[in-house]
Amino acid sequence: MDEEPERTKRWEGGYERTWEVLKEDESGSLKATVEEILFQSKRKRVTESHGQVRLGMMRHLHLVVDCSRSMEDQDLKPNRLTASLKLIETFVEEYFDQNPISQLGIITTKNKRAEKLTDLAGNPKKHIVALKKAVDTVCLGEPSLYNSLHLAIQTLKHMPGHTSREILVILSSLTTCDPANICELIKTLKSLKVRVSVIGLSAEVRVCTVLTRETGGSYHVILDESHFKELLMLHVKPPPASSSSECSLIRMGFPQHIIASLTDQEAKPSFSMSHLDSSSGADLSLGGYFCPQCHAKYTELPVECKVCGLTLVSAPHLARSFHHLFPLQAFTESPTEQLQKDRFCQACQGELKDKSIFSCPSCCSVFCVECDLFIHDSLHCCPCCIHNQSNP
């Protein structure tokens, strides 16, 4: 118990019934706890994701954030809105980190209306600035699921067929105020192949279940803040591309970074093209990325060229998406008793106490459950295999 950091101060937390946690353990297997079920599903997710599937690497995701009255609830600290926005910030960063050639837009909904916070764009900075500003929004009224989805469709439907069209709704309220029958809209979403996923902050709402089931998305409800983060991060990974989506070759430019030193007489400072539409002050800079097709200058990648429309990326960007396509193999699970060697996890060096252990199929190193999850979720490569490679 001591190892666990206290999440909140005792007096800030809700009514905690610590005695009941104890009770659940002793009542035997008849009353399996929800946690156990959750853990099983987590393991399963890891194993499931290791099929060779085509993934939608170019994603268009609209994030819908509920800003209704219920976001003022203080069950997440300091309140739901602030906590969610903070998590969304990290999500946005992570999203662009792992999906460099994708785009994202943010929509907020409150008081029965939906508004665009940011347009679909490939630049994380703009979104993060907007999110930081949004912390001060006044939460009022009910959200409108219909209006938000409708607004999202308006831009998503023009996206090319080889890219994914996704909507992720962060819904805190348990009610939605809609101008028309949402079932019709769900049909439209389905026909447009828009995937809608929902993360609920309070409880399971029927209409979201239907919405996500029909459109092929996922529906989760958070347990606490860390679970919320986990659920958000699930959406960082690109979804499998539907078999009916088009295949096409995409022209991409790989501009070289030209660094001009101040001492170089030839170099002339110039504006970046991406500053054209941003109101923030344009900076003059010496070097930059020059579009291989039209030589327009950009200071940041990835970007779509304003002049010729070419997608400009750097090779590391594409490489970062690589592990999605060739994921690390699932480790094989076996009972701990079968292990002859020392019962220590190769990664964390902790003793293996759980019922089962996990071993890498290529180097046969053994890991505990936690490390297995960590390796597959974050590292994407087996540390022992890498170790062996570097020390032949």
Partner: protein
């Protein structure tokens, strides 16, 4: 294919709940002992299919021991559900055994499907409504030829005593008497006509009546028919008395009786008397003897048959009166007569009603227990089990209550006893008008409406109480606050209005707006409507639904229960209130994948005498910590519960715990666990 203590049972599903196995075990023991049983198992755990598959298997293996299954349920949709399950079972049988089915099953649901074909005698399974067996008027037509070696099942039987009582009670208003008057006149005219055209017919009838009801007597002695409580034993041995033997005399007799009843209805104050008192009075006033009265029902039936009147429905009024005459002269105990000049609701408008009310449910059901070798009474809520054998006057060989095995705790009963300001919450009479209680009830509903998704059903103890509270909430602005979260619908005594409200309620649950249904315990919603999944994520019981104790009929019944069965008034009232509360809260859990909150908003629920009367499957989830919660605490617990329940839950999670394959079922360990599910009393 299951092996239940040596009996091979075909079970048409791949998986089985442990409690189903346990249920079948108990059922088999009951059938083996050729006795009666009381079995309580939560709804949504497949009671019907367990019953059907076990009894059908039993019939196949021991055709001489059990030749027929009579399955009684309450409403038409329930009967249809049974038939559907039965069909599935039969298909499975023919697939397994490979031979065509020689089983005959028959369902009698409504009048338009009514079948009184002699085939009924040969059917192996009969599915119909309670009334076909319990109501003496219908039972005589439909059920009297059922063989002794039948198994009778009363499903959803938690209200069976009331059904019994209703089937033996008669209410006579002025309108009934008027209609009866016209009936008698029609009879007279028809007799006149027949006399002119076909006098021999009446003579034949007369001769038959002199012979007496020998036929019926022989039949009863040889045990061919189910005895009819309206037709007591003694009168079968006697001939119809001379005073009413001819048709004209009988009509004259009816007229006199009618006039007497009319005079009795001209009262200005409430009269309550016993049946002997009534008989004495009728003898003094109009010189009607007890004997002809007792033959009245039989005599009328004979007359209607002789006159060949096709449409019996037209003569319902006179049939009612004649049944009343027979009952009142037959039973000196167990009945009471109350004449009220006006209804309680409208004490100024004269609307005299004569209530001839049965106080002893065992009278109507006695022939059933006597005749059939096994009678099974079952429902989701029968607690406390021991009271049913007492009020229905029979000796069961098995009494068992089954719990629900759950892979996750999907029901969350909470007893809210205090408001946030520590005011005790209760619907008891003294605090009924209390402003603070009403306000706290309001804040409970408001807080719940903000955290419970989709549908909430709230039950009040009566329409009147609901009206008062809702009006107060409106004034305090609570309703407005609630409506920000959910729409509000209200059940009314009007059936059409209520079904409209229900439809809209379901629509609002479906499209994400969310809704609250305010309804009344003992109302239509509390008895017959299921709130599956999102249609009911929480049910709130405002107060303890005690029956209206000022009713004279109830008072008479309580007195009778105390004198005859040694059941104290309070025990019965509490039992009755708790079975209705259990019915109400049970509406939200309709299966193992379903989940719901059950909120008991009255501090009296925390007391052991109330709590102990809830079904075991609810009781075992009430922890000591959730006995006397404030509104805030309840909200916190509910939030936590709803989040937990929203986590993905698949069938695999249930397997091995609350859902078993055949192999899992046969393991030693599981069988040991199963033996703990049934709780014998």
């Amino acid at each position: 294919m299951l092996n239940i203590e040596g009996l091979l049972v075909h079970f048409p599903y791949d998986y089985i709940y442990p409690e189903q196995y346990s249920y079948m075990l108990e059922l088999k023991r009951t059938l083996d002992a050729k006795g009666h049983g009381v079995l309580e198992m939560p709804s949504g755990t497949g009671k019907t299919i367990s019953l059907l598959s076990l009894i059908v298997a039993y019939q196949k293996v021991f055709p001489l021991e059990v030749s027929k299954l009579i399955y009684c349920s309450r409403t038409v949709p329930e009967i249809e559900k049974v038939v559907e399950e039965l069909r599935k079972l039969m298909e499975y049988y023919s697939k397994q055994t490979g031979e065509s089915n020689n089983f005959l099953a028959l369902a009698l649901s409504s009048r338009k499907n009514l079948c009184i074909h002699p085939e009924l005698m040969h059917a192996n399974i009969v599915v119909y409504s309670y009334h076909y067996l319990l109501d003496p008027k219908i039972a005589d037509l439909v059920s009297k030829e059922l063989t002794k070696k039948s198994v009778v099942v009363f499903d959803e039987a938690h209200n069976i005593d009331n059904v019994c009582i209703d089937s033996m009670s008669v209410n006579i208003s002025r309108r009934t008497l008027d209609r009866c008057q016209t009936n008698v006149e029609t009879l007279q005219n028809t007799i006149q006509k027949i006399k002119e055209t076909d006098a021999t017919k009446l003579k034949m009838e007369y001769r038959r009546l002199v012979e007496g009801l020998k036929e019926a007597n022989v039949a009863r002695e040889t045990d061919v028919y189910l005895s009819n409580p309206v037709l007591p034993d003694e009168i079968l041995q006697e001939a119809v008395p001379g005073t009413i033997r001819t048709a004209e005399h009988f009509v004259g007799f009816l007229k006199r009786f009618l006039e007497y009843l009319k005079s009795r209805l001209r009262v200005h104050h409430v009269v309550q008397e016993s049946t002997p008192q009534f008989l004495k009075d009728i003898f003094d006033k109009v010189c009607i003897d007890r004997k002809p009265l007792r033959f009245c029902a039989e005599r009328l039936r004979s007359l209607l048959r002789t006159l060949e009147i096709a449409d019996i429905a037209d003569f319902s009024a006179v049939t009612l009166i004649s049944n009343f005459a027979t009952l009142v002269s037959t039973y000196s105990q167990g009945f009471t007569i109350i004449i009220e000049p006006f209804e309680d609701r409208t004490p100024t408008i004269a609307n005299p009603v004569l209530h001839f009310s049965c106080m002893d449910p065992s009278i109507a059901i006695k022939p059933v227990f006597q005749r059939f070798q096994s009678v099974i009474i079952t429902s989701g809520t029968l607690s406390p089990l021991d009271i049913y054998p007492r009020i229905l006057d029979f000796r069961p060989v098995t009494m068992a209550s089954f719990t629900m095995t759950l892979a996750r705790t999907c029901l969350c009963p909470l007893i809210v006893g205090r408001g946030n300001d520590q005011v005790a919450l209760s619907s008891k009479f003294e605090t009924r008008e209390d402003f603070a209680v009403i306000r706290n009830y309001g804040s409970l509903l408001q807080e719940m409406s903000a955290i419970v998704p989709d549908g909430i059903v709230a039950f009040f103890t009566s329409y009147m109480y609901m009206e008062n509270i809702v009006a107060a909430w409106y004034e305090q602005g609570i309703l407005e606050n609630i409506q920000r979260n959910k729409l509000i619908f209200i059940e009314t005594p009007d059936a059409a209005e209520t079904s409209m409200a229900l439809e809209k309620y379901q629509e609002a649950c479906e499209n994400g707006r969310g809704a609250i249904l305010l309804s009344v315990a003992r109302g239509k919603v509390s008895e017959g409507i299921d709130f599956v999944h999102h249609f009911g994520r929480a049910v709130i019981m405002f107060g303890v639904p005690y029956v209206y104790t000022q009713s004279r009929i109830l008072k008479a019944r309580l007195e009778y229960l105390r004198d005859q069965f040694q059941i104290r008034e309070n025990d019965f009232l509490t039992f009755d209130a708790m079975r209705h509360a259990a019915q109400c809260v049970g509406r939200v859990i309709r299966g193992k994948t379903d989940y719901g909150l059950m909120i008991f908003a009255d501090k009296r629920y925390a007391r052991a005498d109330k709590r102990g009367k809830l079904p075991r499957w609810i009781q075992e989830h009430i922890s000591d910590g959730s006995l006397n919660l404030t509104v805030d605490e309840a909200v916190q617990l509910s939030k936590h519960f709803l989040r937990q329940m929203a986590q993905p839950f698949r069938q695999e999670d249930q397997l091995g715990l609350s859902l078993l394959t055949l192999e899992q079922l046969e393991s030693e360990e599981m069988l040991k666990k199963i033996s703990q599910i049934a709780h014998q009393t």
